[in-house]
């Protein structure tokens, strides 16, 4: 058996190098190179990593493809640090390369479309799993390792290999934070990657193994957490990006109503083959041109507005805080506000303003990234606390000893509308909601 592995390794030695702005060169094995040329991987060259962020940060146009290569590289780096076997390292690197193949147009925003169509949480990870299972080209290329790869990409085992791809200190985040920072020009995402990588360790437990970090790397991890928090407040949660994504989502809903997009073909629970063929034909470019060329209604109008940066503007904002909403019963209602209630409120304001659903959108923003345990990211993978291994062997959760307290950014309710109506809509929203417009008061 070991002899066979050695032969395989010889065949699979790194064969090509690709230049990368973060790591200099990324080396690929023959198998990895073969995968790069698969249709599902090449499609990622047409899906922007940061969705509509380019509307705020024009250079944020890099794609899921570069990030996948970076994740593969970092996954390999972590595997070496944790002294995983060659087979496991190879597997984890392939996982890193393929972990995002299930993304739809404009990345995470498309997950909401699938959620609405299926009536369940349908994350890109689920689509990735379906692609791995059913795509002929991939199945052929991954012969013999598909099952194991599928297990680590769907986090079934929850072991160290899974944690390298999805955990509080995973290859995905360690790559995209710095890459997002590099491409947006926002310096907040920079942290000491080498220090983090060199201090990762395995924390053994009866139930399973975890990835933690040695005490020596604690400050580097604090810097990483701070970077994540700041990138969220400055980039991922920027109000212009939020409205651009909401507009795109609305355009897709109209396109489904107008039968410009085929809802049945976008439902993975009906016919998998039809779903995958249709889903994989959609990327950032194709969906926009499909809507613009086929729609004769609101879907087309919204996409053209997005393409020409004619965005809806802020008309009304309230932070869910004591200063903005002194009445505690009213404030509590906003803390617990559900999607249906937001929709109802939007309809009420739009109806009174005489505006259509393409002209007014309500958005409840919650900065979900906090400085301690809760490092929820855009994907729907559940977050866990970072574990610190002390010199004396004691294991602690970072939240229990970090000097950074949580960051309590209040939720905000936004009403966006067409530019020319924003003053009038602001007043209508103020009247219906019964709370002073924070936006206008800030402007004065």
């Amino acid at each position: 058996m070991p002899k066979k592995k050695t032969n395989e390794n010889k065949i699979d030695k790194k064969t090509i190098s690709i230049r990368d702005p973060l790591y200099g060169f990324i080396e690929l094995t023959r198998k990895e190179k073969e995968l790069l040329n698969c249709r599902v991987l090449q499609r990622l060259t047409r899906i922007k990593q940061l969705g509509h962020t380019y509307i705020v940060y024009p250079s944020a146009v890099y794609t899921r493809f570069e990030h996948s290569l970076g994740t593969m590289h970092v996954a390999g780096r972590i595997s070496e640090q944790l002294q995983l076997s060659e087979d496991d390292t190879r597997l984890v690197r392939l996982g890193g390369l393929l972990h995002d193949i299930g993304h739809g147009p404009f990345s995470h925003v498309f997950e909401q479309v699938l959620d609405e169509i299926t009536g369940e949480t349908f994350s890109h990870a689920k689509v990735t799993s379906l692609i791995l299972e059913n795509n002929k080209e991939l199945r052929k290329t991954l012969k013999g390792i598909k099952e194991e790869l599928s297990e680590i990409l769907t986090f079934i085992k929850g072991d160290v290999k899974c944690e390298i791809l999805s955990g509080p200190l995973d290859a995905d985040r360690l790559d995209y934070l710095r890459r997002d920072s590099y491409h947006t020009g926002v310096a907040y995402g920079i942290f000491d990657f080498e220090r983090v990588a060199r201090n990762l360790c395995i924390i053994r437990d009866e139930e399973r193994d975890y990835i933690g970090i040695h005490e020596k790397g604690k400050d580097a991890v604090e810097s990483y957490r701070m970077a994540r928090y700041l990138m969220h407040t400055q980039v991922y949660q920027h109000h212009t990006r939020l409205i651009a994504e909401d507009m795109f989502l609305r355009a897709v809903r109209f396109a489904l109503d107008e039968n410009v997009l085929d809802e049945d073909s976008l439902n993975p629970n009906t016919d998998i083959d039809r779903f995958l063929e249709y889903f994989l034909s959609l990327d950032d470019n194709s969906i926009q041109y499909l809507i613009v060329n086929k729609s004769k209604g609101k879907a087309r109008k919204i996409i053209l507005n997005l393409m020409n940066r004619k965005l809806l503007k802020r008309a009304y904002i309230i932070p869910i805080s004591t200063e903005a909403i002194p009445d505690y019963t009213k404030r509590m209602k906003f803390v617990n506000m559900k999607h249906e209630q937001i929709e109802k409120l939007e309809n009420e304001i739009a109806s009174k303003a005489g505006l259509g659903p393409d002209e007014l959108i309500l958005h409840m923003q919650s900065t979900e990234i906090k400085l301690y345990e809760n490092l929820e990211q855009a994907s729907n993978i559940e977050e866990k606390p970072i574990l610190i291994k002390h010199y004396n062997g004691l294991i602690k959760q970072i939240g229990e000893e970090s000097p950074f307290s949580a960051s309590y950014v209040p939720k905000k309710l936004y009403v966006f509308c067409v530019d020319k109506e924003k003053e009038r809509v602001g007043k209508i929203a103020e009247e219906i909601i019964g709370i002073k417009n924070h936006y206008s008061s800030r402007e004065q």
Binding site: E206, E382, G399, E400
Partner: protein
């Protein structure tokens, strides 16, 4: 049931203030077991962990219903305390009237945890973890099984502390003596 309601009632039941994020997590876990409310607990090194609980805590602090204060212990650890603000007290009083049965259940859990293990988060976490493990493996939750599985966890707990954890699960009526 909304997690923010449970959290406010729980902190109210604890006298208006709770020390430690882990304590809240574990109280919530036992509340979810006893009341069958689902807060999405997942396994973790320090026992079951819920993102919903963390997010609810943040939301309630950001919206001024809870106040967080941190203090540094002599071992350089930071302990956070969560206290109901004036608005938090008012809304909790309203909620107590509207959800009295839930409040009584939560109070029983909080009182039991406090009486048996006090502020010792290690015992609390250990008990929650062992219960979670045994339950997910479909095993009988008896004193013997708890001690057996507990020994393999590798946590540095004394025999007395392990006994306290067994006592806690027993007091919460989540474990029984061998048949």
């Amino acid at each position: 049931m909304d997690s923010s309601i449970v959290m406010l009632l729980m902190i109210d039941a604890a006298g208006g203030s709770v020390e430690g994020r882990t304590t809240l997590q574990k109280w919530f876990y036992f509340a979810s077991v006893k009341t069958k409310l689902d807060f999405g607990f997942i396994p973790h090194f320090y026992g079951p962990y819920s993102e919903v609980v963390t997010r609810t805590l943040n939301d309630l602090i950001a919206s001024d219903f809870l106040y967080e204060a941190g203090r540094v212990t002599r071992h350089d650890r930071i302990i956070y305390t969560y206290t109901l603000t004036e608005d938090g007290k008012k809304i909790s009083a309203d909620l107590r009237e509207r959800h009295n049965e839930l409040y009584q259940n939560l109070k029983e859990i909080v009182d039991t945890c406090t009486n048996v293990v006090g502020n010792n988060i290690n015992i609390l976490s250990w008990a929650a973890k062992v219960y979670y493990l045994l339950q997910s493996k479909g095993k009988q939750i008896t004193y013997g099984e708890i001690k057996n599985i507990g020994k393999n966890l590798g946590w540095k707990l004394s025999e007395d502390e392990i006994d306290s954890a067994v006592k806690l699960l027993s007091a919460l009526k989540l474990a029984k003596k061998e048949d």
